[in-house]
């Protein structure tokens, strides 16, 4: 009568069925549901929960604003009358906030506010491009690994191990220091090169658990082909954990890009990037803290929004924390 519930242990996705809304089981111990959530996005209760979550609303709103800022910086840059990030006057070098220049000037005497606004494009561009590439690679390799036989699986597993053997930053430093031209696609490509392994593992685990779920076994037993199973059962099932991970990955890619650019192996001079703004000013922070404050603040808020966004979605989907 009392069937002890067993959660799938692999740390991948949990049971394929949506978790029932409530109905406290009075007499029975609750089995501990484990792993990453697998409640489909369409689940109404999740949306209701998200709509009430302040963290989700604030971080989601901030993410949207940052995306708009990245695509159309002009919408924001001109607010104080000096929207061109490249109109500079060395006389104003590193001066603090003034009328029409709320953030002051950088060391070249350019309006810092306009520069900071334009920096969003680089950060989000690298972040989304790198995450997109990692995601595509992860979906491909993870599905292959999860659906194909043992040989393919173990080859991909070893490959994943090799790339996990690199600390993110150090691997990128090595590769980028031997690349001569470094623009958004190059930097994003290199970050994607070291960013796909953790996502691949999540995809593989989710695929495995989806594949072994009862309803999928049933579909197979009724003659469904692999392609059908992947499209109709596996992909929808792994969508949520992967999207949550992706949103958090965008955040860490943004940090990595800024760090690499700051070191001098990321974006290069004519580009406008928060990392570059911080790097060029690194010797003036003591005298002119606004050069550290504003780009640093934008950078941190961006990362914060992306991570908090991913976190709040994950929490809403996780039956254990809601």
């Amino acid at each position: 009568m009392t069937e002890p519930m067993r959660a799938t242990s692999s740390g991948g996705a949990a049971s394929p069925t949506a978790v029932p809304a409530g109905g406290p089981a009075a007499d029975e111990r609750k089995g501990s549901p484990g792993g990453v959530p697998a409640v489909p996005f369409a689940d109404r209760s999740v949306w209701r929960l998200l709509r009430r979550s302040t963290v989700f609303l604030v971080s989601g709103g901030a993410t949207v604003v940052l995306l708009v800022m990245a695509v159309w910086p002009g919408l924001f840059a001109g607010w104080f009358g000096h929207g061109d990030p490249r109109s500079c006057d060395l006389d104003h070098s590193a001066q603090g906030p003034a009328a029409g220049h709320p953030f002051g000037f950088d060391t070249q005497g350019c309006d810092l506010y306009a520069n900071v606004v334009h920096g969003a494009g680089t950060s989000m561009g690298v972040g989304l491009l790198a995450t997109g590439c990692s995601l595509a690679l992860a979906l491909l390799l993870g599905c292959l690994s999860g659906m194909a036989g043992r040989v393919v699986d173990s080859v991909i597993a070893r490959l994943t191990d090799v790339f996990l053997g690199f600390p993110f930053l150090l691997g990128a430093i090595v590769v980028l220091s031997s690349v001569t031209t470094r623009d958004i696609p190059t930097v994003a490509g290199v970050l994607a090169l070291f960013g796909w392994p953790p996502m691949t593992r999540v995809v593989r685990a989710s695929v495995r658990s989806a594949r072994e779920a009862d309803h999928v076994l049933m579909a197979r037993s009724m003659g469904a082909g692999t392609g059908w199973v992947v499209r109709r059962h596996v992909l929808p099932h792994i969508l949520t954990p992967v999207l949550v991970l992706a949103s958090i990955t965008v955040g860490s890619v943004v940090v990595a890009e800024a760090g690499l650019t700051f070191l001098g192996v990321g974006m290069q001079a004519p580009a406008i990037s928060w990392g570059l703004q911080l790097a060029t000013a690194q010797n003036s922070f003591e005298a002119h803290p606004h050069l550290l404050l504003f780009p640093g603040l934008f950078l941190s808020v961006t990362v914060f929004a992306l991570i908090a966004f991913g976190d709040s979605v994950r929490d809403a989907l996780n039956p254990r924390t809601r």
Partner: protein
């Protein structure tokens, strides 16, 4: 048991070859002349170019090149900079600084991270819990160089609580601030891990058994819950030790600590390609070695993994 250890070691060897091959391919065989790429904007005399080509066996087939490179690595040869000083030699007396910084940061991370995590779990849902959560999310969001400079300007220059830069003040005072900055990221992860695990374990059946045995809450927490909750955090911490050794690059640069990381920092800024590749390779190999050790220790310690 032994077969498990052997398998792990074999995997580690595979990863080692894989990692070195990837580095080699990325640095020396990508389209374009590796020598000029490594040199950056620096004008090189033909004799230096010839010496570099000779040194890296660039005129031989790729596999032979990789063979020479590997053979060099086994002899501790990580290449040399443009003036011919071996990278390994440049690193030699810098290791103690880096190790000291990494270990200090590691200690901070473990103690503060675990304490915050347990505190948040026990006060679940209260303002203490929310404050810890907000702090850890914020801490993860601020890039380490921004945090480093902010701490330096605020706590070092403005308030004068800590030495601003350099290691002349010695351990611990010169290391506290950099270590805190290095530790913040991992500390946040540790505290989140511990919080989630403690909350999970507090509602586990074995905790009810402990209560039914008449154990005090204190004993239940210390002997039963913590033991189970700390396992993932310990694993994380162990892996993080390797990362910390490599993660000191930016912080040593910001705080001007003469460690291996600073060497890499300066080499990157000075576009000394061979030094960058050499030091980064060394740090990656250290990371690999630590991960392998941790993995082996882990399989020895965790009874659940130990079963074959």
């Amino acid at each position: 048991m032994t077969s498990l250890l052997l398998r792990r070691l074999l995997e580690a060897v595979l990863v080692f070859f894989g990692v070195t091959l990837v580095i080699y391919v990325m640095v020396y065989t990508l389209p374009g002349d590796p020598v000029s790429a490594l040199a950056g904007d620096r004008p090189l005399t033909p004799s230096v170019v010839a010496a570099l080509r000779e040194q890296h066996h660039l005129d031989e087939p790729v596999l032979a090149q990789y063979g020479h490179y590997l053979a060099g690595l086994f002899h501790g040869d990580l290449g040399a900079d443009f003036s011919g000083v071996p990278v390994a030699e440049q690193m030699a007396d810098r290791w103690p600084v880096t190790v000291r910084l990494a270990l200090t940061a590691w200690g901070v991370e473990a103690v503060v991270g675990i304490a915050l995590g347990v505190l948040a779990a026990l006060r679940r849902g209260t303002w203490t819990d929310r404050a810890v959560l907000a702090f850890t999310t914020a801490a993860v969001s601020v890039p380490v160089f921004v945090l480093g400079y902010t701490a330096q300007v605020l706590l070092g220059v403005r308030l004068g609580w800590f030495p601003v830069a350099g290691d002349s003040a010695g351990w611990p005072s010169a290391y506290v601030l950099p270590a805190l900055v290095v530790a913040v990221f991992g500390l946040a992860s540790v505290s989140r891990l511990v919080r989630a695990e403690v909350i999970d374990n507090l509602s586990a059946d074995y905790v009810r058994t402990a209560a039914a045995k008449g154990l005090s809450r204190r004993r239940t927490l210390l002997v039963h819950v913590l033991r189970n909750s700390l396992l993932p955090a310990v694993t994380y911490l162990a892996v993080d030790l390797g990362l910390l050794l490599g993660g000191t690059v930016i912080v040593e640069g910001v705080f001007n600590l003469p460690g291996v990381g600073q060497l890499l920092f300066q080499a990157v800024q000075a576009h000394t390609g061979p030094t960058v590749v050499g030091v980064a390779t060394a740090l990656i190999l250290v990371f690999l070695a630590v991960s392998v050790l941790v993995d082996l220790l882990n399989s020895l310690l965790d009874p659940r993994i130990r079963r074959d």
